[in-house]
């Protein structure tokens, strides 16, 4: 059959039962609109709260985490954490043995690694570090070098509370240090299998760029046995989590209703038009062409419904934003995702329809 004739039959089919077509488009449009709005809000909840909280409480954007390992640092940085500072409370129990004497007035602290090291000015020596089972790199407070107490390149003996020892090589001096402190690179320690200090629980504190996807990261870390806490923000996260759950639940229900409606409307239509479809088959139209005609009708109705749903959803979200922004500063919904979602939903739709028609054409 020529394309013009196929289009002709599609047009006639739509014209044949205009009311049915209008109802189908209306129902789909309504369900699409609801699902689009729900999904956009769900996807944007993190950002909405992020914008609101940054305006009203920017000082609370920090978090802590226990049991930090080297591999966690990169993941946290990817999640938008910065100014990551790793510390270990127990490390103060490590003793510095120098000249066979315990230097009680020297404390030992942990550098968080490259990022923090980069915040310090190294006035002597260099920033590169290395580690093996017996040695690790150290940096000392600047005035300790200046006072000639220590020298770059000097080897120091460190012993932890369990008696395990490591030799530290002074790589350089850090200008920013306020106290008499020797800094051990976190990465040096974490690479050392034998060092008892590595077994101390390390804690992280860091600033957060945003709270987007914080909850996912939090549960991921919890699964690994690490507790990520964002202090004052925690109660907001509980609220966001519950809100996300509700919206996701409603979206899923909406999708089920949409799928159900599509299948029902399509089945009703095919049943209603059984004789006409049979007639087309009898006069010699192949099943494939009959499918193409009904696919064409379905696609046209679906596209019309989605376009109208996008317009309605835009309008509703504009209204919600107007309402939110007039009451809560910084809280609004971003709408750009609508377009991509509409495309995804229509693809899912077409796939579902094809399966439905294949089943019915097999049955008839």
């Amino acid at each position: 059959m020529k394309i013009f004739d196929k289009i002709n039959l599609i047009y006639k089919e739509i014209k044949q039962d205009k009311e049915d077509v209008i109802i189908t488009i209306f129902v789909k449009m309504l369900l699409f609109s609801i699902i689009l709005i729900l999904i956009v809000i769900t996807a944007d909840l993190d950002s909405m709260f992020d914008r609101y909280l940054k305006e009203s409480m920017p000082e609370v954007y920090y978090a802590t985490m226990n049991n930090v390992e080297e591999k966690d640092i990169k993941e946290l940085q990817k999640a938008g954490f910065y100014n990551i500072y790793i510390y270990c409370e127990n490390i103060s129990e490590a003793k510095l043995i120098y000249n066979n004497k315990v230097q009680k007035d020297i404390s030992v602290d942990i550098l968080s690694g490259e990022e923090e090291l980069n915040q310090y000015e190294v006035v002597e020596g260099d920033k590169s570090y290395q580690s093996n089972n017996q040695e690790c790199d150290l940096w000392v407070s600047y005035h300790l070098i200046g006072s000639n107490k220590f020298h770059v390149g000097e080897k120091l003996q460190l012993r932890d509370k369990d008696g395990k020892e490591i030799i530290g090589i002074i790589k350089g001096a850090l200008k920013k240090c306020d106290e008499d402190t020797i800094y051990i690179s976190f990465f040096s320690l974490s690479n050392n299998e034998e060092i008892g200090m590595r077994n101390y629980p390390y804690t992280m504190s860091a600033n957060m760029k945003s709270i987007k996807n914080y909850d996912i990261l939090k549960y991921k870390m919890r699964f690994k046995g690490k507790i990520l806490k964002a202090g004052d923000l925690e109660e907001y996260f509980s609220f966001i989590f519950i809100a996300k759950g509700i919206f996701i639940g409603l979206s899923i229900i909406g999708l089920f209703l949409l799928i159900s409606a599509i299948n029902s409307l399509y089945s009703i239509r095919l049943e209603k038009r059984k004789k006409y479809i049979q007639m087309l088959y009898v006069v010699g139209l192949p099943k494939k062409t009959i499918k193409e005609i009904y696919n064409g009708i379905y696609i046209m109705c679906t596209l019309a419904a989605i376009i109208m749903a996008m317009v309605i959803a835009h309008g509703v979200i504009d209204y919600i934003n107007f309402f939110l922004e007039s009451r809560i500063q910084g809280m609004y919904i971003s709408e750009k995702k609508l377009i991509y979602l509409a495309g995804m939903i229509s693809i899912i739709n077409v796939v579902l329809m094809k399966r439905s028609f294949s089943k019915r054409s097999g049955n008839s």
Partner: protein, 224 residues
Amino acid sequence: MIEVKNLSVRYQEGDQAFLALKDIQLTFPDSGFISIVGRSGSGKSTLLNAMGGLGKPTEGAIIYNHENIYQKTDKELAKYRSENIGYIFQEFYLENTFTVYQNVEIALMVTKYPRNKRKEKIYSLLEKVGMLEKCNVNVGKLSGGEKQRVCIARALINGNSVILADEPCGNLDSYHGDIVMKLLEDLSKEGKLVVLVTHNLEDAKKTNRMIELRDGIVIKDENI
């Protein structure tokens, strides 16, 4: 010529299997007016559907032009139906929201007949069946006899050589029934093969050959 070879058709009704046709052997010539008679459930319509490529048999074959039609692909079988077989049903199988012209035109759309030549062909056939004056009338507004004449026009439009008529006069009064029977008779005289399924023996006696089915078996096959 259509040859029915060892044809059996089995239907599944729930847990029960029902044998509608049992090992049918028949030969239909290139032209003629043949009736298939029998009670309801004897397998008449099943045989007609099998011959027309509408229902694949459980066993056996329908041979047309030395080919088993059920070994064709769906597209080839559709082509067989559109180019060779014209159907006339008791329920008409017309689209009530289309006009007479549009209902006949569908058959030409299927065979990709050029659009600029369709009008002439359709008008000529509608005139032959006496429906030219009503070519722009919606089929839903026609009487049963008129609808059946439209079906005949659609069945002939592609020059189909075989006309399969399943109780064409079942929903018609005797006057219109006679008109339809006359048209079918004329078609057989023009060299077409017209196979008529009917439970009306009066109509069957107007044909040249009568095949009687009972419980899916041919019990009689005689020239009249």
